[in-house]
Every structure is written in C-alpha cells, then in structure tokens.
C-alpha cells in the first residue's frame, strides 16, 4: 500500500481521534449542503524550505489550515480542543513526504451570526522531509 500524502495523514489523524458529532472530513471544500459540524483542511497553503545543507533542501515547512465548521446554535465547545489534541505535537508519520512533526501555531474562533456559523481556523506547521 502506498504511503498517505501529508494531507491524507492529517485526515487520518482526525479520523482516528473519533471526534464527537463530526459528520465528515473534506479536503479543501465541503459540499454545498454538508451537514455540520464538519471539518475541512487546506494542505500546502505555503511550502517553504526549512533545513538546507550542502546546497540541498533537506526539510520543508508546510503550512496547513484545518477548519471546523459548526452551527452557532449547536456549537460543541470542546471540538476545537479535541482537534488540537489530535494534531499538536504528533511526530514521525510515514507519509509520501515523511512528517517529522506537526505543530499547532494558531487557533482562531470566528463567529458569523448572519450565517449562524462558528468557524475554528487552526493553523498547522508541518515539518516534513524534502
């Protein structure tokens, strides 16, 4: 079996966390009528050289964003913490680009009363082999 992509590995970590109530995890966008709460992830918002040596890039830093979308009226207040717990500090994942470590660098809770929407934007720094 071929190794997972880095995004796929993040998705697998979220699936393994058995997040309560989460209906689905999508790459990029959820479908138009996706049932909330659901999670999306953006892999490779940026991908930058991190470790260089001997004229060769040996490690890279990917910026990934994981988003939790919830109804404001039925918000699960623990979901953000559970996602962070599932991802922060995870090391040594065998993916197509070997993941050294995942670090949660930022969490924002954004509220849209107009759309009855709670959006947790969780920024990840993913250190991978080049």
């Amino acid at each position: 079996m071929s190794a997972l992509s880095v995004g796929g590995a993040i998705r697998q970590l979220l699936v393994d966390a058995n997040l309560p109530g989460v209906t689905a995890i999508y790459r990029d966008f959820g479908p138009p009528n996706a049932e909330k709460p659901y999670i999306t992830y953006w892999d490779e918002l940026r991908n930058m050289p991190q470790l260089t040596g001997g004229g060769v890039v040996r490690g890279r830093l990917r910026e990934v964003q994981v988003d939790i979308w919830q109804d404001k009226t039925h918000e699960n207040f623990d979901l953000g913490n559970l996602v962070v717990a599932a991802l922060d500090g995870v090391k040594k994942i065998d993916a197509t680009n070997y993941v050294y470590q995942i670090r949660v660098s930022d969490i924002q809770r954004l509220v849209s009363s107009q759309d009855n929407l709670i959006h947790h934007a969780i920024s990840l720094e993913v250190y991978t082999k080049a």
Binding site: D28, G30, W42, R46, H119
Partner: protein, 165 residues
C-alpha cells in the same frame, strides 16, 4: 521570609548612572514595540499591493478586478478598503513593562480573506506578516536597547562606558 526585593528597590541601590541606563533600556522597549508594529503595518501594505492573477470578478463598486491565488496574500491596490483598514498602535503607555503595540486589519472581509469561508479558499496575509515581524524582533529590540543604554551613559558621564551585550 522571602529574600527577594522589588526591582525598584534593587535599582535604587545602584549607582545613579546605572539606574538611568536601566530605565533608558526599559523605555527603549516601548520604542521597539512601536517600530515592530509599524514594520508589521508596512509589511501588510506591501504584501497586498500586487495585481491578482487568479479569477476575474466585479467588486462591490462595479470595478473589474482579478483575485489573487489561494494561499497568497489578497490583491488590493492602495486606497482600497482592505488597504485603508490596516492599522498599528501602541497598547501600553511609555515606559511600561512589558511594552505592547499591535498591528492588524479591521473589517470582516479581512477575516474572510485570512481564514477563508465555506466557499472561499484562505489567502493568508496577516499570519505571514506576523512571522516576518517576529523574525526581525530580536534585532530591533537589541539595537534599541543597546542604543538607549549607550546614550544614557554618554549623557550622564564624561567618560564613555562601552556596554557589550
């Protein structure tokens, strides 16, 4: 009983020149915080000042525009609402410890661009600016701190004392 004494009492027991130098160093932090906030403000303006190359659209004023690629900073020309809503300001008063200043963008559209929506990919520009400022912080703080201490010693004594940090 604690052997600790307050910082103010400790400073009072020092030579007056050293006291003045320490307070000058503390005050330099306010200058550093302000400079870093200004730097962040300038970086935000710089990062969004480009012409988009992704998808053409008509903006709220009826002007034809082209959006930036997902993952890249949004495209906004000088004077446009996003550009105008960038700000920086001092949060703490002069000489307070810690010194705090901030920079950022007001308005809901900034949130939507930075973090995305269910229908729009994120175009981060504040987080990269924060990273840029963080990478410069140590240098700015050290420069202002050393300058302030050096100036204070020069002012208070005819003999120049070199401080190496």
């Amino acid at each position: 009983m604690s052997n600790n004494i307050g910082i103010e009492r400790a400073i009072k027991e020092l030579d007056k020149r050293v006291q003045a130098a320490i307070w000058a160093g503390v005050k330099s932090m306010t200058i550093s915080a302000g400079e870093l906030a200004e730097m962040g403000d300038a970086e935000l303006h710089r990062s969004i000042d480009h012409i988009g190359t992704y998808k053409p659209y008509i903006d709220t004023y009826g002007n034809p525009r082209v959006s930036s690629h997902p993952g890249e900073p949004p495209s906004s020309r000088p004077g446009n609402p996003l550009d105008q809503n960038i700000y920086h300001r001092h949060v703490s008063s002069r000489g307070s410890n810690p010194a705090v200043a901030e920079f950022g963008v007001n308005g809901e559209i900034a949130h939507e661009l930075e973090f995305g929506t269910p229908k729009m990919q994120p175009r981060p520009f504040v987080r990269p600016a924060k990273k840029y400022v963080a990478s410069k912080a140590r240098g700015v703080v050290a420069f202002n701190f050393i300058s302030a201490i050096r100036k204070s010693f020069i002012k208070s004594s005819s003999r120049v004392i070199v401080v190496r940090l």
